[in-house]
Symmetry: C2
Subunit: 218 residues, 2 copies
DNA sequence: GTATTTAATGGACAAGCGTCCATTAGCAAC
DNA sequence: GTTGCTAATGGACGCTTGTCCATTAAATAC
């Protein structure tokens, strides 16, 4: 019998075999996101990426056609992971609009989506988006999907209880979204002082102020 | 009599004479901010900056000691301009806490501070701050000063009317700040659709929801 | 086994980067 | 004028960047 470790995906991160195009592709994307989070997007070079992925120089050109396209693919992947997590959480939320909104808030501020690596990558991508169409595309898609979910839920609430002078669904979406983005920024500038519970509770207070009778605190 | 234009600071941007260290310094800072806003911080190189400032290669090293220090100086200058505008507006606001808070909100979202160039520069700086201590310093200083002003005003309000279950001054500051940051992000992603009035009004509604009896809408 | 296919390698390359400094030139003092 | 000071110039430098491709080697088909 032979040794059974070493060559069989033992660590979960290593590629399956020496020839594994799909694995190499993903390894490059992961290494890109790691590098951006660790040393910043300005210092993220082809060399720093392939060093971290433990692959050879030519792989980026081979699998993505260039550094720029790798960055776009990494942004796309990041956005997909974000949205997958959100949808997973929404499946357990049921159909109640309030529950949906609070599930979005809780998930967006939860440790799976809002953590050091993720927040740094998000921030870096947003910072360069304006001069990088490939990245811009995916981060604005992510925003629009999130806003879409919120707006649909808020529309239900405003329709049910048409409470005269209150906020429109559009404004409520706008405000909630801004608060969430602000929380991410805050998290980055003070990770130790940040409290997820407090952030969720604050948004909930904002919502219950805007929609009296709804979003009651525990 | 001689011609009186052409060589006497006529355009306000040109340097006063061919030898003007202070003017050159400022021209480099302005060119840096312009370049960042136009082509992004990633593509902002020594060459692109000196081309825009219409100065020679050596000037960056001469006046700032290197590109990195020029960037830090540009961040510092940006922050100073922001804060000067804010203080100017606060002088007219009087001593009333509500008026101070609303003046901060209106100024932060006004065209002098929130415009295309300014927002793009701000975004770019924040995106690289984590791997660039010189920039990080000034953008966090700016944040802290703004939060300080808000918190002091909110403390007055919470002290006067100690309305039991309401928001603490810290939370109100947190929420207002997050909303403002969110508005800037929103402005960047949809400049045409953005309405300053709506943004101000939304924050005011948030505040009047949190502090019933205060921040009454017009 | 051999042939075929293609993932992966890593060095060569030109272009571009930021830094530096010997030189030039503008202004003030005399 | 001449001198002294220093702002300003712009080319040379070494280094790093991203791209590309001839070569190697792993897996599959026969």
């Amino acid at each position: 019998m032979e040794t059974l470790d070493k060559n069989k995906e033992s660590k979960g991160k290593k590629r399956a075999s020496k020839r594994d195009p799909e694995g190499s592709r993903q390894a490059l994307i992961d290494a890109t996101l790691d590098t951006i989070a660790e040393i910043g997007i300005t210092d993220t070079t082809v060399t720093s990426i392939i060093k971290r992925a433990d692959l050879s120089r030519g792989m980026i050109h081979l699998h993505f056609g260039g550094k720029d396209k790798l960055l776009s693919s990494a942004a796309k992947y990041y956005s997909e992971v974000y949205y997958a997590e959100l949808e997973k959480s929404l499946k357990h939320a049921g159909g109640d609009p309030e529950a949906i909104i609070m599930a979005v808030v809780r998930t967006d501020l939860g440790p799976n989506l809002l953590n050091e690596r993720s927040a740094k990558v998000w921030h870096a991508f947003r910072g360069v988006a304006h001069s990088h169409p490939g990245i811009s595309e995916y981060s604005s898609t992510q925003d629009e999907r999130l806003k879409g979910i919120l707006q649909k839920a808020f529309e239900h609430i405003t329709r049910e209880h048409s409470v005269g002078g209150q906020l429109s669904a559009r404004q409520a979406t706008f405000g909630t979204f801004a608060l969430l983005e602000g929380m991410w920024v805050h998290f980055l500038s003070d990770m130790d002082g940040f409290s997820r519970e407090e952030a969720v509770s604050l948004i909930q207070k904002f919502l219950s102020g805007m929609f009296p009778g709804h979003f009651a605190q525990d």
